[in-house]
């Protein structure tokens, strides 16, 4: 096939496809329209497809964490387990309880999936492979991702169930609390890249990932992201041991599966965002020569970050609601504020990135940022230790807690 270039695999496929449309005799406006439609469909299908792999992967990996095999019946090594699961969910009866708010009850599952899939519109998957390179990509993502929380709120409220209602309370407080550090930490890569566009942020990481320049910001983003999507240890909105299944308690069949889908897409979408904003997105060796590799790097980074999610889920217990809110407002928000202020100063004081300079010439800049972050980390550590000590002293005065050493009486 003429002009088929493996290095630019996706571009080549696109060219072949466009050529096919031209041969059909479509006018250029129509071709553009059809191409946009196909791209949108592909972008929608992509996260849904990834979910199938992540579910399977998560079950296998958690199985290993727990000293067991995980699903191993369907397909080789059980890799096709998700297929019968989906079939089961699709064929299950969908029950609408009486006394629910029918409109909201039915809209919520769809909304939860739509909201998270919309984020993928601004996700730079590979060089020049992005749905829409919005100038305000970051703002768009923030706006859209909050919709998922709205879906959970709707579901919890409209289900007319007390557990679901509690989950809805929790969702709202969780969203309000964790959106703040999320946005504040997000300002740092925006400042570093001097752009709100996702693609520009990835481009700006050509001389080093932002995780090296702003590790604290990355940690805050990852933690608040975990809380935002309601993954362990912040999975209070569907705490199965407390409020049974929380917001989705009254849903069954495919409606339940939609929430499930939405939540999982949301989870790895946040990993993809972390990869994009802090780990260079599609950047990696030889991407300049073989742009198609970019997609590989992007997904690899996303899955490695998702592995951390799985790891946490397999080992950590859950926060209590007041502890979770306190963690955000008393720790993450102040830290994020300090972080933004310090990083803003550092960006202005340290030399702006010179893309043409050699690696060694940019070293002082990196060192400067790292040093600033290190100072912040140490400062945080000292402050937290001091506060904790005071709290402990106070508590000992009040309650006279005995030391935790085992006291054994003969």
């Amino acid at each position: 096939m003429e002009g088929f270039d493996v290095a630019n695999l996706f571009v080549s496929i696109g060219q072949v496809w466009t050529g096919f449309l031209v041969n059909l005799g479509l006018s250029s406006q129509w071709i553009a329209f059809v191409n946009k439609l196909v791209a949108a469909l592909l972008l929608t299908a992509l996260p849904v497809t990834i979910v199938v792999f992540t579910i399977m992967g998560e079950r296998k990996i958690i199985g290993r964490f727990q000293d067991r095999l995980g699903p191993n019946r369907v397909g080789p090594y059980g890799f096709l387990q998700t297929v019968p699961d989906v079939v089961k969910l699709l064929t299950k009866e969908i029950i609408t309880p009486t006394n629910v708010d029918k409109v909201m009850y039915n809209v919520a599952p769809a909304l939860s999936v739509i909201a998270v899939i919309l984020i993928w519109a601004v996700m730079p998957i590979a060089p020049s492979m992005i749905g829409v390179d919005l100038d305000i990509g970051v703002v768009y993502f923030l706006a859209v991702s909050s919709l998922a929380t709205l879906a959970i709120l709707l579901a919890g409220w409209s289900s007319n169930n007390k557990y679901a209602l509690i989950a809805a309370f929790r969702t709202v407080s969780q969203l309000v609390s964790y959106e703040v550090p999320l946005v504040l930490s997000l300002l740092v890569p925006v400042m570093l890249a001097s752009s709100l566009s996702m693609n520009d942020i990835v481009q700006a990481q050509s001389r080093g990932w932002f995780v090296i320049l702003a590790p604290i910001s990355m940690l805050i983003f990852f933690i608040s992201g975990t809380a935002e999507v309601g993954r362990s240890p912040f999975d209070l909105l569907e705490a199965d041991s407390e409020i049974v299944a929380g917001f989705n308690i009254e849903y069954s069949g495919m409606r339940f599966a939609m929430f499930f889908l939405g939540e999982w897409i949301h989870a790895f979408t946040f990993c993809a965002l972390t990869a994009t904003l802090y780990f260079g997105g599609w950047r990696g060796p030889f991407v300049d020569q073989v742009p198609a590799l970019g997609a590989l790097y992007f997904f690899a980074k996303m899955f490695i970050l998702y592995l951390i999610h799985i790891w946490i889920r397999a080992t950590m217990p859950r926060f209590r609601i007041d502890q979770m809110l306190a963690f955000s407002w008393k720790f993450l928000v102040p830290l994020a504020l300090v972080n933004v202020a310090v990083m803003a100063l550092a960006t202005k004081l340290l030399a702006p990135p010179d893309l043409s300079a050699s690696f060694w010439a940019t070293l002082p800049r990196w060192g400067g940022f790292l040093g600033v972050n290190l100072i912040m980390a140490v400062g945080t550590f000292v402050a937290v230790r001091e506060v904790a000590r005071q709290a402990r002293r106070k508590e000992e005065e009040v309650s006279g807690r005995f030391g935790s050493a085992a006291v054994v009486q003969e």
Binding site: I62, F65, Q66, D67, R68, K162, Y163, I166, F169, R170, S232, P233, D235, L236, A239, D240, S241, E242, I243, V244, R313, A314, T315, M316, P317, R318, F319, R320, I321, D322, Q323, E395, S399, R401, F402, S404, A406, V407, V408, Q409, E410
Partner: protein, 589 residues
């Protein structure tokens, strides 16, 4: 009462023996208290009118702070109902006192004001025997539902499909053909309704009755708030079965809470009273199905106390080994499921199950069954340990389990979130723990060094060198940690028992279908993994017990649930419940 100054019980309460205590009571309350003179019975009979005075005197002057068991006996031939109490001063055997009341007007003063631990037990006694405890704050049915007709443990109450009083039933025993009771006695022929009950047209008063005692004042706050009633259970992943907890919550904060029981009720005690003494053994497996070996042991010891049978040495050692292995199984599960309640995704449970399966393998080798062991017999055990059992058990006890306990502790104890969730949550002070009749890890986690293996050694526990684990803060964290301590002590006992175990027979006499049991009563309690498990047996000389009562650990430990949970969050209720460690088979019986 009378002139106060004569005795005043100036002795130190702990050196007071039970006989002395009876003497003091007889002297102090002449005419109100008399010895129980019946053959095979012990304790004193107290007139119903003066029960409260005597009980307060016992608590305040004699230092008897712990009321272990409250139950009742239906003395149908005498036309009397008897309320039976077993109380302890600390060390030594039980102080038994009874109140006999007329069967037609069974009114006994409630002892909840003296010993709060009587709360659920008096309700149970009211429910099953119809003894009305006057002054009980919430005298409702507890195991059966509000619309239940009659009191099932009364000897003249017959269940649907009632066949005959005692097993073995004539329809089956000598000739052996079995046909089902419902064929003999079709449904509807022997149903009884209260006289004013219309089965086709009735309103459910039970739910209203359940919610009625719940306190519903919203918390003080500047916000205008309203409480909401939530039912945790009976179908809920974290109530460890079919427990139902009715909560009034203000937002996420628990204002008041009340456990509701009976969803697994099968009237175990009535079944037991129909059976012969050896026939009851497999039913005891179903009480605390996590640790059936311990439950078997408790029942066997109670019958042995009544009959005076002594098991051979080897059987004693086998029983101790099995009981301590059971304790490890139970504590592993308690810790694992507590972590599930905190929200861990099954990892600690699966780790714990791993080791539990190995112990259950041992049970299977010895008893033929993994969970419903039915292994202990009156006067010994079912059969000797099979070849290779000891080697397998030694590998586990000497090598694998000690390492696992250490590893597991490293996995869970230092976790920051866990500590935040557990420390200072659900505090039960020592005073309250004794008052509400908490036992086992729940009591020892509150700083009370009370272990029946030590204070009233049964079987051969006096031969082993072990420590009573105690922790002093009384919160979820200490109740959790004490289980690690106890597993280590259990391993210590196991090692000693495995060193000392002699050869020999494992059963006194030959295997038999019936046991000759002299008339009388016996209360025997053991330190089961979850706490004090007691069996109260009354025999009238027949092969079947006249009264068979289980002092259920889990049920009575739940007495403290409400006061531990008030003011905490919904999520904490689940954790506190997990830290009490209950089995619903035993709660509802």
């Amino acid at each position: 009462m009378s002139e106060t100054s004569q005795t005043q019980a100036t002795q130190e309460p702990s050196v007071l023996t039970v006989q002395d205590a009876y003497g003091v009571l007889l002297e102090r309350f002449p005419g109100q208290v008399r010895m129980d003179e019946r053959q095979g019975y012990e304790g004193v009979l107290i007139e119903a009118d003066s029960l409260l005075d005597v009980a307060s005197f016992m608590r305040d002057q004699l230092g008897i702070r712990y009321l272990s068991s409250v139950t009742g006996v239906d003395n149908l031939p005498n036309g009397q109902l008897e309320s039976v109490y077993h109380a302890f001063a600390g060390l030594g055997p039980a102080l038994v006192f009874k109140v006999q009341v007329d069967r037609d007007r069974p009114e006994v003063p409630s002892l909840v004001s003296v010993w709060p631990s009587a709360d659920f037990q008096e309700r149970e006694s009211y429910d099953l025997l119809g003894i009305r405890y006057i002054g009980h704050p919430n005298l409702q049915r507890i195991l059966t539902w509000e619309g239940f007709h009659g009191h099932p443990l009364r000897k003249d109450w017959h269940e649907p499909y009632y066949e005959e009083e005692l097993k073995p039933f004539a329809s089956r025993h000598p000739d052996g053909h079995v046909y089902r009771a419902e064929d003999r006695n079709p449904f509807g022929m022997n149903l009884q309704y209260p006289s004013d009950f219309d089965p086709h047209n009735w309103t459910d008063i039970a739910q209203a009755a359940v919610y009625q005692p719940l306190q519903r004042t919203a918390l003080e706050s500047r916000l205008e708030t309203e409480t909401m009633v939530i039912n945790l259970g009976p179908q809920h992943p974290s109530t460890h079965g079919v427990l139902r907890v009715v909560m009034a919550v203000d937002g996420e904060t628990v204002v008041d809470l009340m456990p509701v029981f009976g969803y697994l009720h099968r009237n175990h005690e009535k079944i037991g009273e129909r059976c012969t003494f050896p026939q009851i053994m497999p039913y005891t497996d179903r009480l605390d199905y996590i640790c059936s070996m311990s439950t078997n042991l408790a029942y066997a010891l109670a019958v042995e106390k009544l009959t005076g049978i002594r098991p051979p040495e080897r059987a004693e050692y086998i029983r101790v080994i099995m009981a301590e292995l059971t304790r490890i199984v139970n504590h592993l599960l308690a810790i694992g499921f507590l972590w599930n309640d905190v929200g861990a995704f099954f990892t600690p449970v699966v780790y714990a199950f791993n080791e539990r399966e190995l112990i259950l393998d041992l049970f299977e080798m010895a008893a033929g069954s993994r969970m419903m062991c039915n292994y202990v017999r009156v006067g010994g055990v079912f059969e000797d340990l099979p070849d290779g059992w000891m080697e397998k058990a030694r590998r586990l006890v000497y090598d694998r389990l000690p390492r696992f306990v250490d590893e597991y502790e490293r996995l869970v104890v230092q976790n920051e979130i866990w500590r935040a969730r557990a420390i200072g949550v659900g505090v039960l002070p020592a005073e309250r723990a004794i008052a509400v009749g908490a036992t086992g890890p729940l009591l020892r986690g509150s700083g009370v060094p009370y272990d029946i293996r030590r204070v009233e050694p049964y079987s051969i526990y006096d031969r082993f060198d072990f420590d009573v684990a105690v922790r002093f803060n009384g919160d979820v964290y200490d109740r959790f940690m004490i289980r690690f301590d106890e597993m280590r002590q259990s391993l210590r006992i196991l090692r000693q028992a495995m060193e000392q175990i002699p050869d020999g027979p494992v059963q006194t006499g030959k295997k038999n279908y019936t046991i000759k049991v002299p008339p009388g009563e016996a209360y025997h309690r053991i330190e089961a993994p979850k706490g004090e498990l007691g069996f109260y047996l009354v025999s009238d000389g027949r092969p079947n017990p006249w009264r068979y009562h289980v002092r259920s650990t889990s049920l009575i430990n739940l007495t403290s649930l409400a006061e531990m949970c008030r003011g905490h969050k919904i999520a904490d209720v689940v954790v506190i419940l997990g830290s009490i460690d209950i089995t619903l088979g035993e709660v509802d019986r």
